[in-house]
Symmetry: C2
Subunit: 290 residues, 2 copies
């Protein structure tokens, strides 16, 4: 059985749906019954339940968006950098494998020669490069805390979306924001992502970091073109002139926009669909919120 | 009455001694009865006890030295950056003033024109400048977490010492380390430091950051000369050739060596003795460990 932290969140809920579909037994670990995620309590839960795998889908992303992390700094550090360390300790003492949902938001842009970022590239959007949001800083620290961990997967998600209308869904965001910033990004179809995470464990691929985005990149304008084609033919979308205007008008802290290299996950046999296929599939099967 | 966190530590013990000497009522808050220092538990303690001031002398410094923080990263972040944020929340909701023991170890060297670092100088030995120990990174993040806090003192300590032999005492360290690195530093006499902290509150000096080191700086070789003069006339002290040799032979992570400007605390009327006076006084009244 699998212990799942952060089960009530956007990513955690997708893990729950996948486990139910595949009839995999799991226990959702709430913040309350883990006593603020203390390592000894997590260790005890592993022993009590006989869990053979643990997934950390808990994290602090900020509501309604990443700007909130500029205010709630301590909570953000606790959720994104301290908690992974406590889980590492618990899983290493219990000697079970586990996986941590990290983020590609620790990068910005792409390599000067055009390549996307690889798993072992040093973050270039973090506290250490002193150009990032507080959120990205804490996610990069979370990966530092897990450096050298035993039996640990680090799964990097980027800008999740699927076919279900939700305030956390990238497609919903694009349809509801008053104004958009055009940027090129690697993005992750949510079900593709959790399926790839679980496949890492099921297929026993080597432990380590995996960029789990849909192969390829897409610009905001390209996604808007798909939205108009499939879902909102009459809606007018408005764009900021550039990032400077976006930062001045709409944001408190810089956003990560980046291209990820997915060749490692492809070679390991846990590849996701090409990004355009995943986006079009989500739009064709769009389910409005109730 | 005062709530004191970290009362069992080196700095916390000095606060306890001071409170007892001055007959100031206080309660030592242990990690256990504060449930990992959760903000709501601290808030409840403030309300239960009617505390009118809180002092945070808790922190994660690494045993036997700061190199340990390179391994225990999550604990270090929790103790030095998350805890201050929880205390800030608790004290702001309870509307009481409080003080946090920070560190001058977020700086290295001195200004190019020779001046020491002022309270509002940006740290130059931190995650953001990407040249520091993990410990210094977390202490600088702790100050970031407290940026803009209400009714909050941030007291910067540096390399504490006094007349009592102790593994945490700078003078004991110099007498027991096999080899020393010559460096220039501002340092803090422990009783002078806690007295200055308390004076901030008693004298109602404006809230904010205070460098609480003994005015002036001293080099390791100068301290060794004083040690030989007053305490260990026959002992031979051995020095590393330079910092490169020190890093290669004895250390895993760089140390902060820096000069602090103390004019703000002097102007506020919470000055400490000149560094040479405090050192000579400690050596003349030296108490060996039992």
């Amino acid at each position: 059985m699998i212990l799942l932290l952060g089960a009530s969140g956007y990513v955690g809920s997708a893990f729950c749906s996948l486990f139910e579909k595949k009839e995999i037994p799991y226990l959702a670990v709430s913040r309350e019954n883990s006593e603020n995620y203390a390592a000894d309590r997590i260790y005890a839960l592993i022993k009590e339940t006989g869990a053979t795998f643990l997934i950390n889908a808990a994290g602090y992303t900020g509501k309604p968006n990443v700007d909130a992390c500029e205010v709630e700094k301590a909570e953000c550090l606790l959720g994104n950098a301290v908690l992974p360390g406590a889980l590492r300790n618990a899983c290493e003492v219990a000697n079970i494998p586990w996986g941590h949902v990290s983020s590609g938001c620790i990068y910005t842009g792409r390599h000067t020669d055009g390549r996307g970022f690889m798993e072992d590239d040093a973050p270039n959007f973090s506290f250490r490069t002193n150009n990032s949001s507080f959120y990205s800083g804490t996610k990069a620290l979370g990966e530092e805390v897990l450096n050298g961990a035993n039996q640990c997967y680090i799964w990097r998600l980027r800008i999740p979306f699927d076919h279900r209308d939700s305030p956390r869904n990238y497609l919903t965001k694009l349809m509801t924001y008053r104004q958009l910033l055009d940027a090129e990004n690697s993005v992750s179809h949510l079900e593709d992502f959790v399926t790839a995470c679980l496949a890492c464990w099921e297929k026993k691929v080597p432990f380590g970091i995996y960029n789990l985005t849909n192969p390829g990149t897409i610009t905001t304008r390209e996604v808007v073109a798909l939205l108009k084609q499939h879902l909102t033919p009459d809606k007018e979308y408005s764009f900021f002139t550039d990032e400077a205007e976006f930062m001045q008008v709409a944001a408190k802290t810089p956003r990560s926009n980046c291209a990820m290299d997915t060749s490692k996950s492809e070679a390991a046999g846990v590849a996701m669909r090409p990004v355009h296929d995943a986006l079009i599939d989500s739009l064709k099967n769009w389910q409005p919120a109730d």
